[in-house]
């Protein structure tokens, strides 16, 4: 168990987990859950069974539909209550299902609960949980009673009629053939109380957990699948958005850079052509300018292609590419890289590279920093990217900003970006992504 507490928590967990409790608190939670859900289970069973049978019986006249819908809505209410209890018992968060929203005409709105598979699962849960609730309630009450009764028996033995004096009243000792005296009774029942008290946490935990598992299976597993699908969709959308932004920017860069220079180059060359006969000196000057333009265009194209797919990243891997990036940065960079010997997945390398590249570009452009630290490490299957500067801060993750493009980019690979940049600085940008 101690090893568990030694493991460092992930840098930025997406959902906070309920903390581990002591067994005593957990016993309270479990007992409360079992005791409280018993009357609820009865109510749910009665309402849902009655509602469903009545509704199905009345289906032949349209009222049945309304009754069914009402029964299902009631089941949903009971299910919501159960879901609220589950995290404490299961000691982990459970997903909330997204119910269908009523929309359209009145009849369609009325039919919405009937068309939602989750509400039917809710109704099924109301029925299935009933025996489980009875079982766990009985077990819990019995164990608590024996434990509490046994432990305190010494205090109230005197108040009971003495079984040894009456022929039609036998106690446990007499049943096993022993003589019943106050001292023996107190000893036996206290021992029993101690045994049951020791068993209570385990047994109550077991029955509460069993009942909660039924709830989890019927009430949240569908939502978990939904949530997974949603995350995948969101990730894909983010990837598409990041791609679109990158392409637009690339188009702009080409338009504003090499394309302009080449057009100007064309102009200058044809000017030189016309100048050649009349004023050769001017032509020479124009041609000189044109040669300069050609060089600049090439330089720009090289920078652009480095931005699209840096050759060093593909050839030599992330560490080498980061070193090249750091060397090019106008702000001095202290680089600390700790990566496994084998190459990471290309998408991981690319994403990490762009996070650092974009962050360094921001540092150079906006931060006014005099030095900057880049740290890229792989720990427990996550790649941690840290870019920290001593600049003026104030960086924001506003939409359309370069940094928000990074958020999308990271999100697309199931990563996260955090920016801590108070006014006055310093700025600290942390990205994490899977690097298995």
């Amino acid at each position: 168990m101690t090893t568990d507490t030694l493991v460092l928590p992930p840098l930025a967990p997406s959902t906070p987990l309920p903390r581990r409790r002591g067994w005593f608190r957990q016993l309270g939670v479990d007992t409360g859950y079992v005791l409280a859900s018993f009357p609820v289970a009865i109510a749910a069973f009665v309402v849902v069974i009655t509602g469903l049978t009545l509704g199905i019986g009345l289906l032949i006249v349209w009222v049945g539909v309304a009754v069914l819908a009402a029964a299902l809505l009631a089941a949903r209410g009971f299910a919501t209550l159960e879901r609220a209890w589950l995290p404490a018992v299961l000691r982990r968060p459970v997903p909330e299902p997204a119910y269908r929203r009523p929309e359209g005409s009145r009849v369609r709105r009325l039919l919405t609960p009937l068309r939602d598979p989750q509400t039917w699962l809710d109704a099924l849960h109301a029925i299935v949980r009933f025996p489980f609730a009875i079982f766990s309630f009985v077990v819990t009450v019995a164990f608590w009673s024996v434990a509490l009764g046994g432990l305190t028996y010494g205090a109230w033995d005197w108040a009971l009629p003495d079984a040894s004096r009456s022929s039609d009243n036998q106690d446990l000792l007499e049943l096993v053939g022993l003589q019943s005296t106050a001292g023996r009774r107190i000893a036996l029942y206290t021992v029993l109380g101690i045994v049951f008290a020791l068993l209570v946490p385990v047994v109550v935990r077991a029955v509460a957990f069993l009942q909660a598992q039924v709830g989890r299976g019927l009430l949240t597993s569908r939502a978990a699948t939904q949530a997974q699908l949603e995350r995948a969709t969101e990730g894909r959308n983010a990837a598409v958005a990041a791609e679109a932004v990158a392409l637009r920017r690339l188009e702009r860069d080409i338009h504003d850079g090499p394309q302009q220079r080449l057009v100007r180059l064309g102009m200058d060359l044809s000017r030189a052509q016309r100048q050649l006969d009349r004023e050769p000196d001017a032509a020479r000057a124009t041609l000189g300018e044109a040669a300069g333009l050609a060089r600049e265009t090439l330089e720009e194209l090289r920078a652009l292609s480095r931005g699209i797919a840096p050759p060093v990243l593909a050839d030599r891997g992330l560490a080498a590419a980061l070193a090249a990036l750091a060397a090019r940065s106008p702000v001095p960079v202290e680089l600390a890289v700790d990566l496994p010997a084998e190459r990471l997945a290309p998408v991981t390398e690319n994403t990490a590279y762009f996070v650092v590249s974009e962050a360094l570009a921001n540092v150079a452009k906006h931060s006014g920093a005099s030095s900057c630290r880049v740290e890229v490490t792989c720990r427990e299957g996550r790649l941690h990217v840290l870019v920290e500067d001593d600049g003026t801060g104030g960086a924001v993750l506003a939409p359309g900003h370069g940094l928000s493009g990074l958020t999308d980019r990271l999100f697309a690979v199931d990563g996260q970006l955090a920016v801590d940049s108070p006014r006055g600085g310093p700025t600290r940008l942390t990205g994490t992504l899977p690097c298995a």
Binding site: R252, Q259, Q260, V263, M267, D268, L269, S270, R271, R274
Partner: protein, 214 residues
């Protein structure tokens, strides 16, 4: 000829200004965005505004909209739009007022100085000059049952040149045939397409374009 230049790239603005000055035109103003273009045209009343489509602040079709606006405040100003890309939709907007004196060329065409200067003169003279790529895109938009499909290859070529704003004489020179042969082609084309025959260069182009735009 007095010219107002509008291009947000200093590099291109200067290159173009030098080129135009060396060709003997007077560049009265060179600006970098849409609103300044409208102001410069209103103030200087140039013969022609040479305008880049994409300019700040929106970096989309700022130049085009500014050019249309400038023509409203200073009617009769010819406009030659230059762009890195050619879009038929832009050409449509430019031609919408039907007044002539408009041109739409790829920026690359500037490198062919003589053609560029001829186009500039045509536009100032009230003609219409479209980039061959625009014309090609207009042809590409044809429907299946289109009469343009009944034209011979040669006639299509001639129609394209008409749409680009060339006169019969210029077309004859380009295709290396006699003006009489071109005349015969144009008559066939106009007959097949049901367009009214007329000699005015601008109206000829507009009729052709109106037809091609469907």
């Amino acid at each position: 000829m007095r010219v107002v230049l509008a291009d947000d790239s200093v590099l291109l603005r200067e290159g173009l200004a030098r080129l135009l000055q060396e060709a003997g035109t007077e560049v009265v103003a060179a600006v970098g965005d849409g609103p300044s273009l409208v102001r410069a045209v209103t103030e200087h009343r140039p013969d022609v505004a040479v305008v880049d489509v994409r300019m700040p602040p929106t970096h989309t079709d700022e130049g085009l909209r500014a050019a249309v606006e400038a023509r409203q405040s200073a009617p009769g100003t010819a406009v030659l739009v230059l762009s890195q890309y050619v879009e038929v939709a832009y050409a449509d907007e430019l031609l919408a007022d039907g007044a002539g004196g408009v041109g739409y060329l790829l920026k690359d065409r500037v490198a062919d100085v003589d053609t560029f200067l001829t186009a500039l003169e045509d536009v100032v003279g009230g003609g219409t000059v479209l980039d061959p790529q625009v014309v090609a895109q207009l042809f590409a938009r044809r429907r299946a049952d289109d009469p343009v499909r009944r034209l011979t290859a040669r006639e299509r070529e001639v129609l394209g040149l008409i749409a680009e704003g060339h006169s019969n004489t210029a077309i004859a020179r380009t295709l290396v045939v006699t003006p009489g042969a071109v005349e015969k082609h144009t008559q066939h084309i106009f007959a097949k397409l049901g367009l009214a025959q007329d000699e005015d260069q601008h109206r000829r182009v507009m009729a052709t374009l109106a037809y091609l735009r469907g």
